[in-house]
């Protein structure tokens, strides 16, 4: 199977460790993963800020870059939701605006074969025990687009539970938004910060060392809040936990 890693522009630029972890994890599970160098951005920030027309060329670009692969895997619930939920909607809107079905037809092929990482592991590869070792106390925050747009359900939990050495503790108010919300974080900075602080306090109340999520943009907001509040916790992407083994532990 020809599998492409869609890392996302944020991870590519700011979180290369997550990208390396996904590559290690998938390679260990026998998947031949490719990183198409022409990939850039899915257009989510443009779309959600009200610049749908600016997002369209990025969506077309995405479809060109990933069209030939059998599966596209992304370690981001929100970018995965952009492709799966919002690309079809962009196509419909273009049609409603009398611009024909070119956009819809261009985007349609990549929609069903784009998977968020935990979906790919559980649904496509059919694994939940990925042979990971991570001797830390972890609490898991389900990010909103993974939880509500993609419906990831208990997949992340099923992947975390078999990890050796890992103690998973329940996060109070887990399904509440962390307050990132893309440009919301700066357009409504006060509310965003208050939501982030509440999330960090809830996470700290569990006594966990690590706050885990499957979306680095939320983790950047929470990580920045954690250091500012001196919570003593650190944010770690789920992929980095799953990639960690006894031979090659995560740092």
């Amino acid at each position: 199977m020809r599998v492409a890693l869609f890392l996302t522009c944020v991870n590519d630029t700011l979180c290369p460790d997550t990208g390396r972890a996904v590559v290690r994890l998938l390679t260990r599970l026998g998947v031949d993963v490719d990183f198409p160098m022409a990939q850039t951005c899915c257009g989510q920030a443009h779309y959600n800020t009200g610049y749908r027309h600016e997002a369209e060329p990025l969506a077309r670009h995405f479809a060109e870059v990933f069209g030939e692969y059998e599966a596209v895997v992304t370690p981001s619930g929100s970018c995965g939701a952009m492709v799966r939920e919002l690309y079809p909607r962009m196509g419909e809107r273009a049609r409603a605006e009398g611009r024909g079905d070119f956009l819809a037809r261009t985007l349609a092929p990549v929609v069903p074969k784009t998977y968020e990482l935990t979906e790919f592991l559980v649904d496509v590869l059919g694994v939940t025990d990925v042979g990971a070792f991570y001797p830390h106390t972890v609490t898991y925050h389900p990010t909103c687009h993974g939880l509500r747009a993609l419906g990831l359900g208990d997949r992340p939990r099923r992947l975390l539970e078999p990890v050796r050495g890992l103690e998973l503790v329940e996060l109070p108010g887990a399904d509440e938004c962390c307050g990132f919300g893309g440009t919301f974080a700066v357009k409504n900075a006060d509310v965003s910060a208050a939501m982030g602080a509440d999330k960090v306090r809830n996470a700290a109340s569990t006594g966990a060392e690590v706050l885990c999520a499957a979306d680095n943009s939320c983790l950047m907001h929470l990580g920045g809040t954690m250091t500012r509040l001196r919570s003593g916790m650190r944010p770690v992407h789920l992929a980095e936990i799953l990639a960690s083994t006894e031979e090659e532990p995560a740092v």
Partner: protein, 492 residues
Amino acid sequence: MSGTFVGMPAFPEAARDAVRDTTLRGTLRHATHTIRAKRAKAVAEVSDWAALREAGKRIKDHTLRHLDRYLEQLEAAVTAAGGTVHWAADADEANRIVARLVQETGESEVVKVKSMATQEIGLNEALEAEGIRAYETDLAELIVQLGEDRPSHILVPAIHRNRGEIRDIFRSEMGRWGRPAPEGLTDTPAELAEAARLHLREKFLRAGVGVSGANFMVAETGTLVVVESEGNGRMCLTLPETLISVVGIEKVVPSWRDLEVFLQTLPRSSTAERMNPYTSTWTGTTDGDGPRVFHLVLLDNGRTDTLADEVGRQALRCIRCSACLNVCPVYERAGGHAYGSVYPGPIGAILSPQLRGTASDIDASLPYASSLCGACYEVCPVAIDIPEVLVHLRERVAQGGPVTRDGNKVVLRPARGHGAERAAMRAARWAFRHPGALRAGQRLASRTRRFHPRTLPGPGRAWTGSRDLPPVPAEPFRDWWQRTHGGKDGGR
């Protein structure tokens, strides 16, 4: 809408004070978390919730598609049952009609059932200007009226007040409006409810005119429905000689049978009850029972403009249950006043900019008052995709485009203040279409990373005011991938 909201600051500024008000934060947190858990339980009790939600959505969509037909049918049925129907294109017209109808009765006061439509048009203020005093009789509306306050929640307009504040308002203000609060009034909810009962009783018993809204209007039969808890609604709907109901045109449903969906979904979504204590239905007038005169004022006030928008019209499905407010993390922290409208919370953020347009600062900022977390859509009993409409309205604000205002099609220009953002979005789009340019930018960031400050000046402060910046890595992923041939060279 109500004059009390004119000149509101944009949402972020209004929310800033609320976020720092620890009493308010505590009150809202307590109230919304209480109702959130209860609603979840009430909904989980019915195994066919998803099917009820879907049917509610379809009934509303079907009605909206044929709204002209159902309004005409409703008018004929109400008239045949002894009522009189009036049509009001906007708030001013509705207020004039109601004021005239009250004056014709010779009365100078009215008792009011809690109603969003009459709040939206600022009816109380308009009646006051005509020398007519309107008494709010819902407990929360009474608290707001006595406190000369503004509503902050659809179902519980005084949600921003805790029991101690309510006691203080009752003690100091009830005497000015009628029967004073009992001596030694404490802050126990039961005593506060008793105080409201005593205070309002004399007003109910002498009332000549009742003013209400309605939760539903049945086109087929001309029946109106009011869903309530306290019995103040029943008082206003049955004791006065004259009843005037002001109802938004989107509140119509085709048939009596359709109520079987909404009378199941509304109570569970709003107060988290299997059924609210009282529901009243009436069709025109009934000999010897209830008001002898019934007027129905059908209100447009921006609804037909909203109906003209393909994406935005779903907001007209709303049955005003408040479930979206109660689950919203932004509402919980910003409070209802920050939304600058009688419709706060997620539904308000998509309703106000459609009913009023996006010309004012507050209305242009409301579509951004959300992290798009989707909790509102999940709980909505008529499946309004609030995040979808929010993004659609952001597009209207940022990029302009065709809209309908006062029945006329116009093309909006992009809102002021979005020029820099627009330029940045274009530049980012250009870079993302040119992977080489993106890569150059990434490398520049990596090479200069030692010099990056931990806090930013100017607009960047919005991030670093409360959060540290993430460290920039030594190389972007794509450089590592190329250098190590996809990690095959040992991966370091």
